[in-house]
């Protein structure tokens, strides 16, 4: 162990939202148990490329560092995932880092996930409980239902499912799997259920449910193992029922 081991990063960089991307290679001293972010921090300490040229530090996004916030998603060796949870020891060298291509690049590996938050607004992924007086405790939730709904609540809006989806791109307006699954989460909540049709209406708007082509990549790549395709099929059924209620009329169309 006398020799200093190094790891090589090949990073796709971009100086501004409109400029052309380019690649730079960096050699970083190896430490045990490094993750991608600690490698990027080494580059920031000493922003010199493998050719010895001084450059700007690589920009990336991060927050929680424990795979619950979704901010540090990037494409690592061709796979979209969180850079905090990607361990260098488990990756093939050289390690290639790219920004997720589905989203607009802000700078280097920093992307803008605003379309995901717009999608959550479209499907009203919240429970409206604000009022002028205390509404008291809400209805109880069956334990069995709570168990599967909890799995849906693990979504961190990281964008990996949108990155893998062939129907989420700049030619289509599909909102992607994450927001559809969130609509299911809030429709399964006993209080949220009272506004179920509003979320379904959101899913029936432009870019909603019908943008899904069932390639089912999302459920394969989700870092949280959320049953996204089950959620999409569940919302497909709910939307079908809702559209019949809307057309033929129903007292239970709320």
């Amino acid at each position: 162990m006398a020799e200093q081991k190094t790891i090589t990063f090949i990073i796709t960089r971009q100086d501004s939202p409109d400029s052309a991307p380019y690649e730079e290679t960096f050699n970083v001293p190896y430490r045990k148990n490094m993750n991608i972010i600690s490698g990027l921090m080494e580059i920031r300490k000493n922003p010199v490329t493998a050719k010895g040229e001084k450059t700007t530090p690589v920009a990336w996004d991060m927050n929680c560092l424990e795979e619950v916030c979704g901010a540090c998603s990037m494409v690592i060796n061709g796979v979209p995932r969180q850079s905090c949870a990607a361990l260098v020891d488990e990756l093939e060298q050289p390690i290639r880092l790219e920004p997720m291509s589905t989203f607009p690049v802000v700078r280097d590996l920093v992307i803008d996930r605003e379309r995901m938050f717009d999608a959550l607004k479209q499907v009203k992924a919240w429970i409206p409980i604000d009022g002028t007086y205390d509404l008291g405790p809400g209805p109880r939730m069956p334990e069995k239902k709570r168990q599967w709904a909890y799995e849906l609540s693990k979504c961190m809006t990281c964008g990996v499912c949108l990155e893998a989806c062939p129907n989420v791109n700049d030619k289509s307006n599909f909102i992607g799997p994450a927001a559809i699954s969130q609509a299911r989460l809030f429709n399964s909540h006993p209080t949220g259920e009272m506004n179920a049709s509003e979320r379904l209406e959101g899913l029936m708007e432009e870019g909603g449910l019908v943008g899904c082509g069932n390639a089912q990549n999302c459920v394969q790549v989700c870092p949280k193992g959320i049953p996204l395709t089950t959620s999409i099929a569940a919302m497909n059924r709910a939307a079908t029922v809702q559209s019949f209620k809307n057309f033929f009329g129903s007292d239970n169309a709320h």
Binding site: P166, G213, N214, A215, V221, R237, T240
Partner: protein
């Protein structure tokens, strides 16, 4: 409905693929299979279908208009996808890709096939065994028809799976898997019915 135009068109697209287009496909291949039982039984069946009451109205509302709608929206759906099977080589992603490829092949095939048969019959050619025999004894046309029929049947079978998921019948992963096997069976059976007929026309066996 007016406020959910895209939703309505896409659900209609999915429905039309099964009813009436899918049903017509099966009916068409089954009736043509009479060729396997001999020239005379094919001619009898073909003339029965051709002389149905209101045949032109049936053709327009059960076949032409649904296929036209399905094809136009379908080409748009193909256009908005950015296929990524090289990076994500999952089984369902491949079927998603193949669904789009077979859709385009089927569209080209149907256009050619309608011109060569229905349009020619309307222009005076007689609708009988020898019309198809004349087309399919050419080996190039035989293989074009084999690819066309396989594409159409694949597109129908996999589209049936998509229909059952898109309308929310098959929700659980287990049910979706079983529907995958069931539609595979549909693909194999309907393909046999169609290809067997082509072989009879081409080689007389």
């Amino acid at each position: 409905m007016a406020e959910h135009r895209e939703y309505f068109y896409r659900r209609l697209h999915s429905l039309l693929g099964v009813v009436p287009i899918g049903l017509f496909l099966i009916n068409h291949l089954v009736v043509n299979h009479f060729a396997v039982y001999g020239e005379e039984s094919f001619n009898k069946a073909a003339s029965f279908m051709h002389n149905l009451p209101f045949v032109l109205a049936l053709e327009i509302f059960v076949i032409y208009l649904p296929i036209l709608f399905h094809a136009i929206l379908g080409v748009y759906i193909v256009f908005v996808a950015k296929n990524n099977v090289r990076r994500y080589g999952f089984f369902r992603n491949w079927l998603f890709y193949l669904q789009r490829i077979t859709g385009i092949i089927t569209l080209v095939f149907i256009a050619w096939h309608v011109f060569e048969t229905r349009v020619q019959v309307a222009l005076g050619a007689s609708l009988d065994y020898s019309l198809m025999e004349g087309i399919l004894t050419n080996p190039v046309m035989f293989w074009f028809y084999v690819i066309g029929v396989l594409s159409a049947v694949f597109h129908f079978s996999n589209g049936l799976w998509g229909f059952l998921v898109s309308w929310g019948f098959a929700q659980s992963p287990r049910s979706q898997k079983i529907v995958t096997y069931a539609t595979l069976l549909v693909f194999l059976v309907v393909s046999y019915i169609g290809i067997r007929t082509l072989i009879t026309f081409a080689y007389g066996v």
